[in-house]
């Protein structure tokens, strides 16, 4: 269970040209709930605030305002306890190249307080599902990006997290592997976990997401099933929602 209410996050960045500080309001008052056994899809153009939102849920960043509860735990007050219920994956996160997948998974099992033998068994099972079993004892230095991503996925799910946060899990994966990951997410849903994913792949959203939130400039537009979203905007694909949002904005500015 994930409950976010009215979170804000802004960054101070330097504008090199005007030499002034700029305030980027990445997230402006987002609220959403992901129930157990539900897959929530976060959509939005580049820089909309998806990753920032997911990082805050994962306890890697603190919101400026608002509260986040993961499995009933306030992630700002008890970040470690909250994180122990979360499996987090993102594209800007990598694996320890010097290890083999088996070594990495055993180690992260220990980090998460999972018994080494249990962690190894569960890790190998996950690798098997991701068609990586034959690489379990190969040093990851020579792995391709997709292979590393798959090991990362196994790492994120190793401790049997109640909440799964995947930031663009299929980026860089071929269609077959992407399908495997989607199937895995389906299993997570069936096992009653709360899953939240961000993506740019619209068909994926339509195929697996129970609810969709479209983030545009830090605010959430539509927080409903894919079907309802399409009906509300009177469009045929989710892509068209994007175009409309941009068009609306330009009209608003003009």
């Amino acid at each position: 269970m994930i409950q976010i209410s009215d979170i804000y996050k802004s960054f101070n960045v330097k504008d090199k040209k005007s030499r002034s500080r700029m305030r980027i309001e990445a997230v402006r008052g987002i609220s959403l709930t992901v129930k157990p056994g539900e897959i929530y899809g976060l959509l939005g153009p580049n820089g909309a605030g998806k990753s920032t939102t997911l990082r805050m849920i994962a306890g890697l960043m603190l919101p400026d305002a608002g509260t986040i509860q993961v499995c009933g735990i306030d992630s700002a007050k008890e970040p470690e306890r909250a994180r122990s219920t979360i499996g987090y994956l993102s594209t800007d996160l990598s694996v320890y190249n010097r290890f083999t997948p088996r070594e990495l998974l055993k180690l992260f099992g220990e980090f998460q307080g999972v018994d080494a033998a249990v962690a190894e068994r569960r890790g190998l099972h996950l690798l098997d599902r991701l068609h990586m079993a034959e690489f379990a004892d190969v040093k990851m230095e020579g792995f391709s990006g997709g292979q590393k991503q798959k090991v990362s996925i196994a790492r994120a799910l190793l401790h049997d997290p109640k909440v799964v946060i995947f930031d663009e899990p299929t980026t860089g994966l071929d269609v077959l592997t992407a399908k495997t990951v989607l199937d895995l997410l389906g299993i997570m849903k069936a096992e009653g976990r709360s899953v939240i994913v961000s993506t740019h792949v619209m068909p994926m959203v339509e195929a697996i997401c129970d609810r969709v939130g479209i983030i545009f400039e830090g605010t959430l537009h539509g927080d409903a099933s894919p079907r309802e979203i399409l009906d509300r905007w009177k469009v045929r694909t989710l892509d068209e929602v994007f175009f409309q949002l941009v068009a609306d904005k330009e009209r608003g500015v003009a």
Binding site: R55, E80, L93, L107
Partner: protein
């Protein structure tokens, strides 16, 4: 603490996977010092052995024959050679011979009349073999003179001891161990500081800014290990590496030095007791107190490295931030080696310097326990302060996510 220990385990596991780094960190110093010292020793020994093992070549003009017995009766030290043709001084400078002696013609008569006669010795002070020849001459003449004087005293019916009215018996209160301890004490803290810092530096950068660069830090932060434990774990790792590297280097150096000095003493026929081993140089108490002091100092260095590494965006930035620290350490080390600084009153209160000062005093057996305690507590305090700062730094989002 469990989380911190897990991080230490992870760091050592990562290190163990890198054979080359392991080799250069732990094996290289073991081989380096014996090799280096052995080479220096061999060169020095060969040169010295060649000089002292050879008689000095001397040409003599001695018509009266007053000095004849002294030179020919001592074939191990003197070899009488023909006077070279051409410029005599140039011949000595060219090392064709070591010394030329010219005894005044009336020497034998003068001696009979109990007058002083002189020998003119031409030598080259800048050349060690030539200087040795003069030394040998002085000693040989002195012992000959003693015999002459004693014979004359005897003939006069006086005590032969008149020849030596006073005899000085020197007794070194410091003993060999203290002289060596002092030399070592001013050198050792510097070496230890250098090695602890330099040895830990790269590993510290790899474990902090390197993890950011490789994108692995985020995976650590997403686990349920608290951030303070992650920092403490990395700190312990960098600290252990520093201590281990310093230890290996010290041991290797001690081994090389004792072998070098030992073999030299044996060559000089002094036997093993002439060169006390490192254990005898410093009592176990001294070594223990030094080690205790090295712990907070190592922690302080580890903290500095971690702090610089964790605030940096990448390894290059971390390296450039740590470099000035290295320069300061070198400077402080050289500074604390300088003679006479133990008399500066404020130094015991300057962090890091006071550590090397305390070690130096321990080794020269002048330990001041108040200063020792100040250095110890100050360094511990500083180390704690920096650990706290590093933990705060890792909580800052700008330190984790690139801006």
């Amino acid at each position: 603490m469990r989380g911190a220990l897990l991080i230490v385990k992870k760091e050592f596991m990562e290190l163990s996977k890198d054979r080359k780094t392991m080799f250069f960190t732990f094996v290289m110093p073991l081989v380096l010092f014996p090799l280096l010292f052995g080479m220096i020793g061999k060169l020095g020994k060969n040169d010295k052995a060649e000089r002292t093992g050879r008689p000095s070549r001397v040409c003599v003009v001695d018509d009266s024959g007053a000095l004849a017995g002294v030179l020919t009766g001592n074939p191990k030290e003197f070899q009488v050679v023909e006077r070279p043709s051409g410029d005599l001084k140039q011949a000595i400078r060219d090392q064709k011979l070591e010394m030329s002696l010219e005894i005044e013609p009336q020497a034998a008569d003068k001696q009979r009349r109990q007058e002083t006669w002189s020998v003119k010795a031409v030598y080259d002070r800048s050349d060690e073999s030539s200087a040795l020849a003069l030394d040998r001459l002085r000693k040989a003449v002195a012992s000959r003179d003693k015999v002459v004087v004693q014979e004359r005293l005897k003939a006069m019916g006086a005590s032969t001891q008149l020849a030596v009215p006073t005899r000085i018996e020197p007794d070194d209160a410091g003993g060999t161990s203290r002289a060596l301890g002092k030399a070592l004490g001013s050198f050792l803290p510097y070496m230890v500081m250098m090695m602890m810092f330099a040895g830990a530096m790269q590993h510290g950068i790899y474990a902090t800014a390197g993890e950011k660069e490789r994108g692995t830090l985020l995976s650590l932060l997403s686990t349920s290990i608290p951030r303070s434990q992650i920092i403490i774990g990395k700190l312990l790792y960098v600290f252990s590496i520093g201590i281990i590297v310093a230890m290996i280097n010290l041991l290797s150096m001690a081994f090389a030095v004792t072998r070098l000095v030992g073999s030299e003493a044996a060559a000089a026929g002094q036997g093993a007791q002439a060169m006390p081993g490192l254990g005898a140089l410093a009592s176990p108490g001294t070594l223990g107190l030094t080690f205790i002091l090295m712990i907070p100092l190592g922690l302080f260095f580890a903290n500095f490295i971690i702090l610089a590494g964790i605030q940096a965006k990448n390894t290059v930035e971390a390296g450039t931030a740590i470099m000035p620290g290295m320069v300061v350490v070198i400077f402080l080390g050289v500074f604390s080696m300088a003679p006479g600084i133990e008399k500066m009153a404020f130094l015991p209160y300057v962090p890091v310097v006071n550590v090397s000062l305390a070690i130096r005093k321990l080794f020269s057996q002048q330990a001041n326990y108040w200063e020792y305690t100040v250095a110890l507590l100050m360094t511990i305090g500083l180390a704690c302060l920096m650990t706290w700062l590093s933990t705060r730094m890792l909580r800052r989002e700008s330190a984790i996510f690139k801006v």
